[in-house]
Symmetry: C2
Subunit: 345 residues, 2 copies
């Protein structure tokens, strides 16, 4: 098995920079559509053989150094008791948003095996099938990010309902976040037990919070999750606070092995600020995969050069690869990361 990804997470030396791509199992790949067309998105998440198949597709095609479980951050919320739909145009929708005491009280804590067994089964299948290939990353959403979907009832433009609950009903907000945190800890421990070899916590919307609000309403729950996992496991933990440059002085203290960065911050600044405390992951703009080959190579190199002083660096995009991307270009980017980083060693 390729171990560069795990080594870089822990700050051990590698012969080249490992790379994986957020949403690497996804709509830009024709082979994904072949599997996806057999049912809905949620059905795909809930059918372990198919979810495992699309997880492996980019490992084989792109040559990345890690696989990431195909799933969605919202599936545990459904099992907390919040019905979830994926609508073709609107994306995820919770038809009954969680906005009052009764709604929060009604939420339960799902058991990973009993309630989310399809995720655990997918992980078990993947561990067998990936055994000689690459490590498997499991994941969850971070509590604030998950809460936004529950409170808003789906995606949001300004997170009005979420922030309003934070400000107007902080105790209720805290109860909701406590429940989501407890659910997430159990869910991630389940993934560890099933065989996940690393875990990433996605805080996709952390960047909509002012630093003081992040400190009060989001970060404590992240720290609680990471502390609980650190007691249970030695596998690498990655925390990705999207658009989180202004939160970095806080996130550096989260306890994870790796911090992920979006493309808005230069990695040399990130390295300067995190020092040798953690490894870093990121951060090419996903749309840079539309650059001509020579300019793409220059940009890949630029990211690698900026990350040079890091304790460890895992190359990634700064956000998910977009459906319009050419698979060939994504594969070229992976090759470039490998070849250029080898030259730079």
């Amino acid at each position: 098995m390729k171990t560069e990804f795990l080594k870089a997470c822990k700050g051990e030396k590698t012969d080249f920079t490992p790379v994986w791509i957020m949403r690497q199992a996804g709509r830009y790949l024709p082979q994904y559509h072949t599997v996806r067309s057999k049912g809905t998105f949620l059905e795909l998440c809930k059918t372990p053989e198919r979810a495992a198949e699309v997880t492996i597709q980019p490992v084989d095609y792109l040559g990345v150094d890690a696989a990431i479980l195909f799933s969605d951050i919202l599936v545990p919320l459904e099992k907390m008791g919040a019905p979830l739909e994926f609508q073709e145009k609107r994306g995820p929708v919770f038809p009954s948003p969680i906005r009052d005491q009764a709604a929060v009280d009604a939420l339960g804590i799902p058991d990973p095996e009993d309630d989310l067994g399809y995720v655990m089964d997918t992980i078990r299948i993947l561990r067998k099938e990936l055994a000689d290939k690459v490590p498997l990353i499991g994941f969850s959403g971070a509590p604030f990010t998950l809460a936004t979907y529950l409170i808003e009832g789906g995606s949001s433009k300004n997170y009005f309902q979420t922030k309003r609950m934070m400000y107007e009903a902080p105790a209720l907000y805290g109860q909701l976040l406590d429940k989501i945190t407890e659910c997430t800890i159990a869910y991630l421990k389940g993934q560890i037990a099933a065989g996940a070899q690393a875990l990433q916590v996605f805080d996709s919307w952390a960047g909509v919070l002012a630093p003081r609000d992040y400190a009060e309403f989001a970060f404590p729950y992240v720290k609680r999750i990471i502390a609980a996992l650190k007691e249970a496991t030695d596998i690498p933990l990655i925390y990705f606070a999207n658009n989180g440059a202004t939160l970095l002085d806080q996130t550096i203290e989260c306890g994870a092995d790796v911090l992920g960065f979006d493309w808005r911050i230069n990695l040399d600044e990130a390295v300067r600020r995190v020092g040798q405390k953690v490894s870093i992951q990121g951060n090419m703009d996903p749309i840079a995969l539309f650059l001509p080959d020579d300019k793409l190579a220059e940009r890949v190199k630029n990211v690698l050069v900026q990350a040079k002083g890091a304790r460890g660096h895992i190359f990634n995009l700064g956000h998910g690869i977009i459906p319009e991307t050419s698979p060939e270009k994504a594969r070229l980017a992976v090759e470039l990361v490998h070849s250029i980083s080898r030259e730079m060693r």
Copy 2:
């Protein structure tokens, strides 16, 4: 006329911190709806008497220290030759996106008086009506932000079409941005001639760019506009790069008198980084207007305390006030800025 706003822009001492609110003339005010209901949004922009009326409403009601012209950043683009619609659910739409050489070639440079006379007339009316009240701020979008609307055909989630043109067809992108820049310079000079007493350039989407892309594809046009205006006028110029914390090392060099900040960055960090070179504007989260009164006061004070070392500070929200806001709460926030900052002097 209250002159604190103009003084703070230039770094002169004031007895209290001046305040205005982005989108202060807007949908959260019942009196706005009364005027708006007489026609479409674009008709309101194009009817000087009505546009002036809604501009003045918040000056009278909130007690803010500056008025800002009621208009939309997209109106000059329409007169460049890109038909514009405002759709109730989607917002602004350009049904014919600008994506190829022919489309860029077809764009013209509108004359402020001949083509956008309704804006200039609005300014002239406002100067008369505001004479003994507060200064009038004119505005435009920044070229990159304006280009995203033209290229995407409206709002966007990931700015794919815009970045693709930047990366795949940089020469064409440059021609488009040159035209928008030329249009914007003429448009803002027209506003100065008509009587604007300060100007703000809104770079609403600057924050979606990596620092190196901002440096290449957005910032040069901003600098060109500000340099051209600085040759023509002494009135204060404000540049607001939304979500621009990671661009600050660049934006500090833009040449404006004031930099605006969204709520993602603590103002004390902003002050530390800009020093005494410029004044600062911002930056309370608009949703903080949903806090209980005592907590709102605490938060207003927090912003004022953070801004204390600034050359000059104009209090504002970090983004536009949202329609759900209570007018009373907005008025209270303005009073709090005035009273707390007086105490702090």
